[in-house]
């Protein structure tokens, strides 16, 4: 009896020590990363304070005098995000079905589609932006193409996952009526996953709006292009104003997006 007690208490102690050791190892790994990236360099951090204060001082007060020239770029950015998301959804529906194990015509196609999605996800949109600016020139178009293609990586993957999670018994009932494989997808699976797809698309649009503000920096038009210009000319007061405008826009888009997504629930 007491032997079991002793054993259990010993086990408890051992478990406690083991978890301590694991936590210690984890801390050590994180600490090594902090040191490696210079977060322990007290001297540099101390110097950063005054430099930041200087910069912030130069930003004050924000200079909105140029506001009349920002309307068009803002519209560009908004249009770029919507068009990019639309492109992504159009490509993601077929790719998503091909990448879903339960809808794919063949396991090889399934693997291939997954590979394409992984590839698109792993190339950063800024790199795609640079490539498309080189291919089609400056403006919103390269931004749309870059955002669209990069988004397919994530949107297509999520579409595939929701297709895989749809009720397979309802799908079987559709097959039993004599529907062709294409009809099974369109009438058995699609109606089940449509709300999730809409949710994913709008969520991605919110992300793409934020991303499209950055796309301007590689020459793909929009408000980011203005921001880059002001930065180059070191007009920090205008930079501050632009950042504030972008903050307001992002907040509005996020609010609109979550309102829309609430409708799909």
């Amino acid at each position: 009896m007491s032997k079991t007690y002793e054993f259990t208490i010993g086990e408890l102690r051992r478990e406690y020590l083991a978890s301590l050791a694991k936590a210690g190892l984890g801390m050590l790994a994180v600490g090594a990363c902090l040191a490696h990236s210079g977060l322990f360099d007290a001297q540099r951090l101390m110097e950063a304070g005054p430099a930041l204060a200087d910069l912030l001082g130069e930003m004050m007060p924000p200079d909105f005098s140029n506001w009349a020239n920002w309307g068009m770029p803002l519209l560009d950015t908004l249009a770029m995000s919507v068009a990019g998301t639309f492109l992504a959804v159009c490509l993601s529906i077929p790719l998503g079905f091909l990448a879903a194990a339960n809808a794919s015509p063949h396991p090889v196609v399934h693997r291939l589609a997954r590979g394409v999605l992984n590839f698109l996800r792993s190339v950063p949109e800024l790199i795609m932006g640079i490539v498309f600016v080189a291919a089609v020139g400056f403006g919103a178009l390269p931004g749309v193409l870059a955002l669209g293609l990069h988004s397919v990586g994530m949107v297509g993957k999520f579409f595939a996952e929701s297709v895989e999670h749809c009720d397979k018994r309802a799908v079987e009932a559709i097959r039993a009526t004599g529907a062709t494989p294409m009809q099974v997808m369109l009438h058995g699976m699609l109606p089940q996953v449509l709300p999730q797809m809409a949710d994913i698309a709008v969520y991605r649009w919110e992300y793409n709006f934020r991303a499209s503000t950055v796309m301007g920096m590689v020459g793909a038009g929009g408000i980011g292009f203005q921001l880059m210009g002001s930065l180059r000319l070191m007009q920090y007061q205008e930079v501050a104003a632009l950042l504030l405008v972008m903050l307001v826009m992002v907040t509005l888009v996020d609010a609109l997006g979550s309102w829309l997504r609430g409708k799909f629930a």
Partner: protein, 266 residues
């Protein structure tokens, strides 16, 4: 109407259906009995090729032996399948679910357009026959279990079927609802001259509704006669465990074991 010869299904090493010969006639209401795992679902699903048989043939009057994809399509179009869990798309309305029954005989391009007035009218007619006209625009997920099964039957009716296969259509319903559903299936069978095969696990319901009772046990037909020949000794023979009654497919409910116990006690 429907003839099977040597129909066999083998899963890996396990034989779910030994070579079986049966003929089903139009306007007849046949009931499949047997304990869980006997092979009732396997037989029904092989009949319309939802499960691909390992061997044997399925032959339909007017189509012939089902040996090509286009014949299989023709077979499925004329065969309504009613499932235990109804298997509706819950987000869609009852009407949309019934209209899905028309997919088989609708070309892909046409199924992308809105349904024609005739199709919708026919589907409403099917809902009316099962007594759910007032629920046409209610989401299937909002309906009760019995109502959902009626929608499942209406979907089968929308196919204008010559055969109806029903796999334990009342296993998840209470006794009163079960009788209603079976009465409905029997009425449809008689009125439309449909060849109907229903699997059940309640012996009393089989006695009440069947024209013919076919009992399966461990993948073999062990009884095939009118229900009045279903004696106590025959039941004992059907329900005494011979082999793998314990190895049940995942979706079986506890009710099946209950039925087995009841049958044994009887």
């Amino acid at each position: 109407m429907l003839t099977i010869q040597g129909l066999t299904k083998i899963y890996q090493a396990h034989t779910a259906l030994y070579p079986t010969d049966l003929t089903f006639e139009a306007s007849r209401f046949s009931v499949l009995l047997g304990p869980s795992g006997a092979g009732k679902s396997t037989l029904l699903r092989c009949l319309n090729q939802l499960t691909v048989p390992t061997g044997g043939t399925v032959e339909i009057e007017g189509i012939g032996s089902i040996d090509t994809a286009s014949k299989r399509h023709a077979l499925r179009c004329m065969t309504g399948f009613v499932f235990q869990q109804h298997q509706l798309i819950f987000r869609q309305t009852a009407l949309a679910n019934v209209l899905n029954g028309r997919l088989g005989c609708t070309p892909l391009w046409r199924s992308l357009l809105p349904w024609s007035r005739k199709d919708v009218t026919d589907a409403l007619g099917c809902l009316e026959r099962v007594g759910l006209l007032d629920f046409a625009l209610t989401r299937a997920g909002r309906l009760s279990g019995g109502q959902q099964q009626r929608v499942g039957i209406a979907r089968a009716l929308a196919q204008k079927p010559r055969i109806i296969l029903a796999d334990e259509p009342v296993a998840s319903l209470d006794p009163a609802k079960s009788e209603e559903i079976l009465e409905l299936l029997l009425k449809i069978c008689r009125e439309d001259g449909i060849c109907t095969v229903v699997s059940l696990h309640q012996v009393d319901l089989a006695r009440k509704f069947a024209d013919r009772v076919i009992a399966l046990k461990d993948g073999r037909v062990v009884f095939d006669a009118p229900p009045n020949e279903l004696s106590e000794s025959a039941l004992k023979e059907i329900y005494t465990s011979g082999g793998d009654v314990s190895s049940q497919p995942e979706e079986e409910t506890g009710e099946n074991e209950l039925a087995v116990l009841e049958a044994k006690a009887a």
